[in-house]
């Protein structure tokens, strides 16, 4: 599904990613953990095509296709989804209108007609139930005045609507209380299938109790310094990151 080879990225001449290698197969869930400033969010945004970052060496392949020349929207059309750590407010644009536009733009890129209104409605109803979202919420302006939990739930709702091949959840657990976390995780789990892949970026092990990863990677100083299975996450929770830092320094 996703293959990253020796990826380097920098912003304003400061190198943040210093050679990332990562392979994610369809049907897998990978967790990326690491201390603050290790480059987790940068990795997510580089995969999504944020042009603020200068990609130096290395390549990102989605289903064998090099993403380098593709704009963020083209990557989205190919099935890349990023759940933002800080979802952006767009005043006056309702969640429904935004989703309608996004879905139809993707369909247009694939040479399909607009989704019929009744189908759209049905889908919205279905997915909002999945995430226990009040329908009134959908007519509110996108992320404007949303609580932290509402914003994150809205991100996963959009994921459900867009049905991506590769979903990257950037600190989706931050700002969530336990009930909201359970709802979000439940939603994500229902969206897991053998045909898609999910990358969960998180600081804490807590989320991984609900979204159980197949693999865990530790990102430190722009590099993946350790990979393992879900037990690694528990170990990190217990010991912190310092032992890895020492190990990386050796």
């Amino acid at each position: 599904m996703l293959e990253i080879k020796n990826l380097h990225a920098s912003v304003e001449d400061k190198e943040i990613l210093k050679g990332i290698d990562l392979k994610v197969n369809a049907g897998e869930v990978h967790a990326i953990m690491g201390p603050n400033g290790s480059g987790k969010s940068t990795l997510a945004e580089v995969i999504a095509g944020q042009e603020e970052f200068e990609v130096g060496e290395g390549n990102i392949f989605l289903e064998g296709e090099d993403l380098e020349e593709l704009s963020p929207e083209e990557r989205a059309h190919k099935g890349v989804f990023l759940s933002f750590q800080y979802p952006v407010e767009i005043p006056g644009v309702s969640v429904t209108n935004f989703m309608k536009t996004a879905i139809n733009e993707s369909r247009k890129a694939q040479g399909l007609e607009d989704m019929p209104a009744n189908e759209m409605l049905k889908k919205i109803r279905e997915k909002s139930e999945l995430l226990e979202i009040d329908r009134k919420f959908l007519s509110r302006s996108l992320n404007e005045g949303f609580s932290g939990g509402e914003k994150k739930r809205n991100e996963i709702f959009q994921m459900a609507m867009l049905e991506p091949k590769l979903a990257i959840l950037d600190e989706t657990d931050s700002g969530l209380d336990i009930d909201a976390l359970r709802i979000v995780a439940n939603g994500v789990n229902k969206l897991r299938s053998k045909d898609n892949a999910i990358i969960v970026i998180t600081h804490y092990q807590r989320l991984l109790d609900y979204i159980v990863p197949d693999f865990v990677h530790v990102l430190y100083n722009g590099k993946i310094v350790k990979s393992g299975t879900k037990e690694l996450a528990l170990e990190l929770e217990e010991k912190g990151y310092d032992w890895l830092k020492e190990e990386a320094a050796v």
């Binding site: 999504a48 095509g49 944020q50 042009e51 603020e52 020349e69 704009s71 963020p72 929207e73 083209e74 990557r75 989205a76 059309h77 890349v80 989804f81 990023l82 933002f84 979802p87 952006v88 407010e89 767009i90 005043p91 006056g92 644009v93 209108n97 935004f98 536009t101 996004a102 879905i103 733009e105 993707s106 890129a109 302006s141 996108l142 959009q158 867009l162």
Partner: protein
């Protein structure tokens, strides 16, 4: 590579005027220039009664003594008033009984404009009065309206058929001498729409007029008079387009609204006159006087989407004379390339417990200048007057300007006035967020601009709202697709 904002801006600037075509219909045009003879000739051509000719001459004499105003934030080459033809009517002066009789080429023009004077529109429940180069050529649905006692016709016809109403109300809200352009209009207006809603009647359909300047070197001076009698209601739509022309064309309309006790008038405008090319050449000068008078418990609501014209100067206003009357102004003004818009409203609170709301959204791109200029005045007898104003500006790029000039004058201690203004830009993060969801930059900007304008778009009648959204996209986005 992805589309940058820079590239988008370039594309915006090269965007051609979509309605820039010219219909080849023989016109009957008066020679250029303006003097008493011309004024009399216009009146004669329209077979007007003597009182009307006198009224025009009075206005003309006042106009001669007046000076053309100077405005702080608008610069343009002043029109040469002797180089304009003040009358241009399509030659085959029509009095149609049905659409079949209308010149097919004219109908074709309307189709290009997307104005269907045909059955579709009828189903949509719209009566249309079209003023093309100044003469009203088609008014439909008169019969349906006549059954309710509603008069909806050209103002020329009203002068012939309903002189008592015209005499009683014409010039009562915008006097002949009100300002330079109002005086000019009063002297030479060639046509326009007239509407009267009788007591207690709710007009069953949206009434609609389309204005269009066709002939080269002509000015368009329409005059609109809407009277809503006690307890009545009407929603009125006005659309404006002009084909592409090199020389600047002048448009100086006057609109007068009269809402008697308990009446309500909703007046919506979508203005898309030719804005000039990307070098700032050509385009329409749009100098319009629009004003409404509210009697007791009456309500007037102005909604406008201004995307066209090289220079726009208009301040739809409400005189809240009656107690408990309400005035509203909702505006979206988009400027691009070298356009200049100076628009806003005046809310004059005279009666007790009067209320006014002003929502203005300005969007500037290219090298355009976009100003909000408004007045909220509470007179000393206007107990408990309330006003809320909000003026938001969105700037796209660094060569345009957004300006806010509100005047607030309160002479009564019970007044409550609130004014807020903000200026912002479209954030890079908003664009990236949309991109990530598969929405390209151009569409993202349209979406964000639409969101920004939402509060005003929501005030437009349904079908107008769709058209207005399309216009916003056209004026800002270039060829989508």
């Amino acid at each position: 590579m992805a589309y940058t904002e820079e590239e988008l801006k370039k594309e915006l600037e090269t965007k051609e005027y979509e309605y820039g075509f010219y219909t080849d219909i023989e016109s009957d045009t008066l020679p250029k220039g303006l003097n008493e003879e011309i004024v009399i000739a216009i009146s004669k051509k329209k077979e007007e009664p003597e009182w009307m000719t006198e009224w025009r001459l009075e206005a003309f004499r006042a106009w001669k003594e007046m000076e053309e105003p100077e405005w702080a934030n608008v610069t343009y080459k002043k029109p040469d008033f002797q180089d304009i033809s003040y009358y241009s009517a399509p030659n085959k002066k029509p009095k149609y009984n049905s659409l079949d009789e209308v010149d097919p080429e004219l109908l074709d023009t309307f189709k290009k404009l997307g104005i269907s004077v045909d059955e579709q529109k009828k189903l949509a429940g719209v009566a249309v009065d079209i003023v093309m180069d100044s003469v009203s050529v088609a008014t439909t649905f008169k019969k349906t309206l006549a059954e309710k006692g509603i008069i909806f016709c050209s103002i020329s016809e009203a002068i012939q058929e309903h002189p008592e109403l015209v005499k009683k109300y014409l010039g009562t809200v915008v006097p002949q001498k009100d300002n330079f352009y109002a005086a000019l209009n009063s002297a030479v207006f060639s046509d326009g729409s007239f509407c009267y809603i009788p007591k207690g009647v709710r007009c069953p359909m949206e009434l609609s007029t389309y204005f269009r300047i066709n002939q080269a070197g002509t000015g368009q001076f329409e005059r609109t008079l809407v009277i809503a009698d006690e307890g009545s209601y009407v929603s009125y739509l006005e659309g404006c387009t002009a084909p592409m022309r090199d020389e600047n064309q002048l448009h100086a309309a006057v609109v007068e609204l009269i809402a008697l006790d308990d009446a309500e008038i909703k007046y919506s405008t979508v203005q898309n006159w030719y804005p000039g090319n990307d070098e700032g050449k050509g385009g329409v000068f749009n100098f319009v006087t629009k004003r409404g008078l509210c009697e007791k418990n009456a309500k007037i609501s102005w909604t406008q989407v201004e995307t066209g014209s090289a220079v726009t100067w208009k301040y739809p206003s409400c005189i809240l004379k009656g107690d408990h009357s309400i005035g509203e102004f909702y505006s979206i003004a988009v400027t691009n390339n070298f356009q200049q818009a100076d628009t806003g409203t005046k809310m004059i609170h005279l009666g007790k417990n009067t209320k006014s709301t002003i929502i203005s959204k300005g969007i500037s791109a290219g090298q355009s200048q976009n100003s909000y200029r408004g007045l909220v005045q509470v007179n000393s007898r206007a107990e408990n007057a309330r006003n809320f104003s909000q003026c938001d500006s969105l700037l796209m790029g660094n060569r345009c300007g957004a300006h806010t000039f509100p005047y607030i004058e309160a002479k009564n201690k019970t007044a409550q006035i609130e004014h807020e203004a903000t200026t912002s830009k479209i954030g890079e993060d908003q664009i990236f967020y949309c991109n990530q969801r598969g929405i390209d930059t151009e569409k993202a900007i349209a979406l964000i601009v639409n969101g920004f304008s939402k509060e005003v778009l929501n005030k437009l009648p349904m079908e107008f709202a769709v058209e207005a959204q399309k216009l916003l996209e056209i004026s800002l986005e270039g060829s989508v697709g």
